[in-house]
């Protein structure tokens, strides 16, 4: 036992056949799977967009300035997430807490924008789940992404609270990193959704 305690516990976790920590490898496998979840949803949306190009006046419904702003905020949250992971690995807890808090705050802004957007679409633009096929695919796709963001906020928030307890240990930096992988992934998926669901609508052929 004594021989183990001298080493860096984070390095101990890397003593696997591949040199990658178990939790990180499982998270990568999950993200591969999650790619297919979003791939199916995005495909559904794009297929129906192509089949029924004129089902809704999409440019009239969208508010690209707001969505552009929330996209930028989510992108910046990923930047803060990277700083949190870096601070966690350096065991710089105060810095990690500030960066995690910032990530969560930006995530909440993004979610707030989405909630505003949804209620705006439903009440002002009459776009609902059952108003048209566009409404069905749009809300289920972006709603699924919103659920991912909400779960991510909950997850990061848990680590923020946990880091104030004396149960937080050196090796928990890996857990923050794994949560960060998830957060970056959710962000990347949003970049794709923002491009193929929102931006391409503004291309004039």
């Amino acid at each position: 036992m004594s021989s183990h305690t001298d080493n860096d516990p984070l390095e101990e976790l890397k003593k696997t056949s591949t040199g990658v920590e178990n939790k990180k490898l499982a998270m990568w496998a999950f993200l591969a799977s999650d790619c297919m979840f979003f791939g199916t949803l995005i495909s559904t949306h794009l297929i129906y967009r192509k089949v029924y190009p004129d089902v809704e006046d999409v440019i009239d419904i969208f508010d690209i300035e707001l969505t552009g702003f929330s996209t930028f905020i989510l992108l910046m949250s990923s930047f803060l997430m990277a700083l949190s992971v870096s601070a966690a690995h350096k065991n710089n807890l105060p810095s990690m807490r500030w960066c995690l808090g910032g990530t969560i705050f930006f995530g909440l802004i993004f979610l707030g924008c989405q909630v505003y957007e949804f209620q705006h679409f439903v009440f002002d633009k009459d776009l609902t789940l059952s108003s048209s096929i566009f409404g069905s695919t749009f809300f289920v796709l972006t709603g699924t992404h919103g659920v991912h963001v909400a779960l991510g906020i909950f997850w990061l928030g848990s680590w923020l609270i946990y880091s104030f307890t004396d149960r937080y240990k050196r090796e928990n930096a890996l857990d923050v990193e794994v949560a960060g992988l998830y957060w970056h992934f959710v962000d990347v998926v949003w970049i794709i959704i923002f491009t193929v669901v929102y931006l391409v609508e503004y291309i004039e052929f």
């Binding site: 036992m1 183990h4 696997t16 056949s17 591949t18 990658v20 178990n22 490898l25 499982a26 496998a29 999950f30 591969a32 799977s33 999650d34 297919m36 979840f37 791939g39 199916t40 949803l41 559904t44 297929i47 129906y48 089949v51 029924y52 089902v55 789940l129 059952s130 048209s132 096929i133 409404g135 069905s136 695919t137 289920v140 699924t144 848990s158």
Partner: protein
């Protein structure tokens, strides 16, 4: 076996974890419900799968009895539809997949020299989700309109609220979602375990083939299941919230369901057959007393089959009018898959060629597998040609094809695996004479049941028809098919009875009754809780065979555990079970979302949302407590017998 808690874990044990203290009891109900031991979980998977195999078998026999004579009135057309829906769903998701998962759980960690899987509690979650998902689907039988009648493929628009207003369809949708969670968490776990927890020296190209096929199957699961999960979410939204994904009224395209379903559905058939191929690749070398012929080719072929499996889904849809280019491409890719499959067949034959064959029961099933799977494969190649397929679509020829690959393939291989690894799991051996009688009953019954279906299909008998007219001339083959099905059912039942008998009364087996080649045969039968007292250091592909017959420099090294530290074992936990119940109730809430319970004729009650919220809260609490509890762990010390074995091996080297 002596067990001590090291100071740090003892502190963790005394710490209260909320409502319960961490369960420590290893026996009885608490031990069973909180277990994280991959061996116990594997056995539980097998028992659940065998139970559902019998349920699905009874459903099949009722179908066959209905078709035994023309214009039979045994069951109604609707019940017939429900039976073939539940037969397909049960056999695929509740029998063959979990039986494969049972082997993944029990055998794979032993084959790589690991003490457990990477995430033992997640493994328990997979088990409970499988059992509760199976229960949820079968609960539909007890509600007013009974089980779903939509086929296991659930084609739109039949599944629309308008055409299937029954709650059975909702049970089916949510039951499959829970089973999807079970398969996915299992697959993440197996991928991590195989890649990360191999014994020292066990490189990827030394892995036993069964472990390789577990890895490939797990990748297929994580990449294929999302398609059906999302398709089911979309279908659920259509039924509950009035979206138009597959609803023609609002412009939905039913063909989209077919695409999404088969993007999952075709890799799924490889999820069913690749573990079977892995088992066969283990058994044939052992009973041929030769190394597996063309090991790298078998691995590579398995990977190619898995990869191409994602590119052939539309061959299930040739008659929907995909257009010439798509049809040609999918036909070509489908034919291409025959090549790696053929490579495997030739490698198995090559392994047997010139070997000193022993026709034990597992070997009989293995050879039966090769033959029967080839017959199913040949009809498969026939289907890959679109004009031929157009003739065979929705006839009994297709039924014959996939029962040849799924019974003659998967089930034969799984029975082979049961007979082969039974001594490892139970410490007792199954009787050879009874095993052979059972094999010939299953083999003959299976062929009498399904061979006539080729002829029925060729003469035009459609699938999913609950009766037929005498003038069609289908009476005789149908009669024989039913006789064969009864014989097959009798054979399978007899196998299961023999298993139960052998578990209690069978002859004691040595640790390695077959002359095995892979690592699981190096340890005790049944393996001790810690699997291996030592850390095995691997120097060869067939390590156990090399230990016995090979050169000294290829013998396995055994590293004894640290005498102070001992062997680290994961702690038991209640939270996987509680989390799975949360998921179960949440899904039940969605099923009951629009359902009105009526009590005493007048009092009606709807509270799907309440149940959903309760389920989600329980799930969330389960996950948070799970995380706070941590993996825990305690330390075990190998007994004197094991230490003696390690000392002997070290003095020999």
């Amino acid at each position: 076996m002596s067990s001590h808690h090291s100071p740090d874990s003892a502190a963790a044990h005394s710490e209260p974890t909320g409502l319960w203290h961490r369960p420590l009891k290893k026996t009885g109900w608490v031990g069973f419900l909180t277990t994280v031991d991959h061996k116990k979980i594997g056995i539980a998977y097998a028992l659940g799968a065998l139970f559902f195999l019998l349920v699905g078998g009874v459903e099949a026999l009722i179908i066959r009895l209905q078709l035994m004579v023309p214009e039979n009135e045994l069951i109604s057309a609707r019940l017939y539809n429900q039976l073939f829906t539940m037969h397909g769903t049960t056999m695929i998701f509740l029998a063959v997949m979990p039986l494969s998962a049972a082997f993944f759980n029990y055998i794979m960690p032993l084959q790589i020299g690991a003490r457990d899987v990477a995430f033992p509690r997640m493994n328990a979650l997979g088990l409970w989700c499988f059992l509760l998902g199976g229960i949820l689907i079968n609960m539909s039988w007890f509600f007013d309109q009974g089980a779903p009648a939509i086929g296991w493929f659930a084609y739109a628009p039949l599944t629309d609220r308008q055409f299937s207003p029954d709650i059975g369809t909702d049970f089916w949708i949510m039951g499959l979602q829970i089973l999807g969670i079970a398969s996915l968490v299992g697959a993440f776990n197996f991928i991590t375990t195989i890649l990360n927890m191999r014994a020292p020296g066990l490189s990827m190209m030394r892995l036993p083939v069964f472990t390789w096929m577990t890895l490939i199957t797990s990748f297929l699961i994580i990449l294929a299941f999302p398609a059906i999960t999302i398709a089911l979410v979309e279908l659920m939204f259509d039924r509950h919230f009035g979206t138009y994904f597959f609803n023609v009224d609002g412009g939905g395209k039913p063909i989209l369901w077919q695409h999404l379903f088969w993007i999952f559905g075709h890799p799924e058939v490889y999820i069913l057959i690749l573990p079977a191929m892995g088992i066969i690749s283990e058994v044939i070398p052992v009973f041929s007393r030769k190394t597996l012929f063309g090991y790298p080719l078998i691995i590579f072929s398995g990977a190619v089959i898995g990869f191409l499996g994602f590119a052939v889904w539309s061959h299930h849809m040739f008659t929907t009018g995909l257009g010439i280019v798509a049809t040609t491409a999918f036909a070509f890719l489908t034919m291409l898959i025959a090549i790696p499959t053929g490579v495997k067949i030739f490698n198995w034959i090559g392994t047997m060629w010139g070997g000193r064959l022993r026709f034990t029961t597992p070997m009989l099933y293995a050879v039966g597998f090769i033959w029967m799977f080839m017959m199913g494969g040949f009809t498969g190649i026939m289907h890959s040609s679109p004009p031929v397929d157009a003739q065979q679509q929705d006839t009994y020829f297709v039924v014959a094809h996939f029962h040849y690959v799924l019974i003659g393939g998967s089930i034969f291989a799984l029975l082979c695996g049961i007979h082969y690894w039974f001594p490892k799991v139970s410490g007792r051996i199954m009787d050879e004479t009874w095993g052979k009688i059972n094999f010939y009953t299953v083999f003959v019954g299976f062929n009498i049941a399904f061979f006539p279906m080729h002829i029925l299909g060729m003469t035009g008998m459609p699938r999913r028809t609950h009766t037929y007219k005498e003038e069609m001339g289908w009476a005789e083959p149908n009669f024989w098919a039913t006789i064969g099905a009864l014989m097959l059912g009798f054979g399978i039942l007899s196998c299961i009875i023999q298993m139960i008998y052998s578990y209690y009364k069978g002859a004691k087996s040595p640790n390695d009754p077959w002359g095995g080649r892979t690592l699981e045969w190096a340890t005790a039968s049944p393996p001790k809780e810690y699997n291996f007292a030592y850390t095995p250091v691997i120097h060869a592909r067939d390590q156990v065979w090399e230990d016995r017959h090979g050169t000294p420099e290829k013998r396995m090294d055994k590293i004894a555990p640290d005498p102070e530290h001992g062997i680290h074992m994961p702690d038991q936990s209640w939270w996987p079970l509680i989390t799975s119940f949360g998921i179960f109730f949440a899904c039940l809430g969605i099923v009951f979302f629009r359902y009105e319970f009526t009590f005493f004729g007048s009092l009606s009650y709807t509270n799907g949302i309440g149940l959903l919220v309760v389920g989600l809260v329980v799930t969330l609490v389960g996950i948070v407590k799970w995380a706070l509890e941590g993996p825990g762990g305690y330390h075990l010390y190998p007994d004197a017998e094991d230490m003696e074995e390690i000392r002997q091996s070290q003095s020999k080297n």
